[in-house]
């Protein structure tokens, strides 16, 4: 007889699982579309509760210099830009996040730091744009700035 513990998909006393266990959260993954700096759309999935920075790291998305401080609100390199409707769903911004966001190049009214946005089912299919970094305009001339 299978014990209550084993019913959930764990190992039986036979040494292998008799109850098929669904991969954790395969039907509650959240899809995120990133637009990278070249304008390409890159689709990735994350689990509810993952931050957008987690998704970028876990899926090995290649955005130059993204997430330098590893999600500790000590930089602005995970800066992402959203459409109005999505932005509204992202919830309130703390002063702490705003303080760092203020340093981001190309700041917009719908900017957020990716390390502070947690995925939820209601955000499924969201689009996040990775903005240009400073270099592209300000430092493309000699250092006479």
């Amino acid at each position: 007889m299978l014990s209550r513990r084993e019913v959930g998909g764990g190992r039986s006393s036979l040494g292998f699982s008799l109850i098929p266990s669904f991969p954790q959260g395969s039907n509650n993954k959240v899809t995120v579309h990133f637009i990278n700096r070249d304008g390409d759309k890159i689709t990735a999935k994350g689990a509810p509760g993952d931050t957008l920075l987690d998704v970028v790291l876990n899926e090995d998305l290649d955005f130059d210099g993204f997430g330098a401080c590893e999600g500790t609100l000590a930089c602005s390199t995970c800066h992402l830009i959203f459409e109005d409707e999505v932005f509204k769903k992202l919830g309130p911004v703390t002063d702490e996040e705003m303080d760092m966001l203020d340093l981001a190049y190309g700041l917009t009214d719908t900017s957020r730091l990716g390390c502070q946005i947690c995925l939820s089912k209601s955000l499924d299919g969201m689009v996040a744009r990775v903005p240009e970094s400073v270099t592209d305009i300000r430092q493309s001339k000699d250092e006479s700035a």
Binding site: C69, E70, A74, M100, D102, T135, S140
Partner: protein
Amino acid sequence: WTYEIETWWIFQISLPTYKTDPSVRFSSCTPKVCIVGSGPAGFYTAQHLLKTHQNVHVDIYERLPVPFGLVRFGVAPDHPEVKNVINTFTQTAKHSRCRFYGNVNVGKDVSVGELKQAYHAVVLSYGAEGNRSMGVPGEGLAGVYSAKDFVGWYNGHPSCRELNPDLNCETAVILGQGNVALDVARVLLSPIDILKKTDITQPALEALVRSQIRRVLIVGRRGPVQVACTIKELREMVNLPGTKSEMVEADFDGVTEALKDLPRPRKRLTELLLKTALDTPGDKEQQRRHQASRTWGFRFFRSPSEVLADADGNKTVGIRLAVTRLEGSGEGARAVLTGEVEDVTCGLVISSIGYKSHPIDPSVPFDTRRAVIPNTMGRSMFPSGLYCSGWLKTGPTGVIATTMNNSFDTARSLVEDMESEALDLSSVKTGSEVISALLEERGVKSVSFSDWEKIDSVEMSRGEASGKPREKILTVEEMIQVART
């Protein structure tokens, strides 16, 4: 072998065609690049090069036995998250095509010219080891320090070990209102209970325990709207336990009116400043201020004119500040002297008016006025094959992310030059082989990245004993000793 020589000649004659076909690289040898300086600029440049070019080999030379530059010696001890970038630098250092050579003084142990001969390209990223001076009488008195040295002292830079600043006075005056100035103010006034859990050096911690400093003034020649610090650092001061702020209300005339035209970041910063300076505190805040034993404040429209000495002419007892007024408004406003002066009693003066780069070698062009290497997108004007990144390229401002972007930019220029053959890759360069031989001849023993990891490990285990993330080793000699175990 005769046949091989014939074939080789055929390749030589056919070279032009092969050169333009990107899938055939017979004419290019493995590109070897060396980077001078292992701070954020050096590491981010290396990182980008290794990522975007599949054959390039990168050697990073560093004067000290330990890497990471200002991440180790500049970032405040109570900002450990900012140092997380060390993790990505460590990954880069351990890349199969990257090598770290510590304890090598470029300009003394080996010349830039020798590096240029050994490598296809040289990237100078050695930052800014000097500081701008105030240029006022009394600057050399005991009790006057540059922020660079003061920060280097509490962060354990070997060259600042003997600073021994005298903290036996009530008031400290800091000139400059950027983030470095605020870091210094915060370290001077932070409760010891907070500092003792950081990687601040033990001698600095002990000096701060004995410190008599109870008041810190952070002085700038322009007004509240021009203040150079950012909001995170200002908020840390406002919320610093055991302290209260003290500002001059009159300094804020006209600031509320200016708010509406400011972009959001500047607006939020100015609003916080206004609130701190002018708001009438509620009961709870009133009580907190009453219990505060330490004070800090900004002083605006003041520029240093002389450091005042005691009767014997040795020690600092005050600073004479010239009163200014603003011409123009916003970022471009200029401070103009009014002719008035004001004396402030203090025993410690810290000038935090900017770091400054030094030239490394007469063969490298250097703009002495701006203290940078003249460049276009990281390419030095001449000679070819010389690049720069970080503060040496743009001047000493900006946070780590700024340096990161600027370094990626230089790396892009370099890779572009490798691919367009603006950079000559036709001859084999032996890179570290020849440099290592030179160094050995000269009795210089370099420190490898795994040697650094021994130092790292010793520092961390010593720190554990006292509840700190690490206890930094303070002399080059001891660093090398640990490296050699």
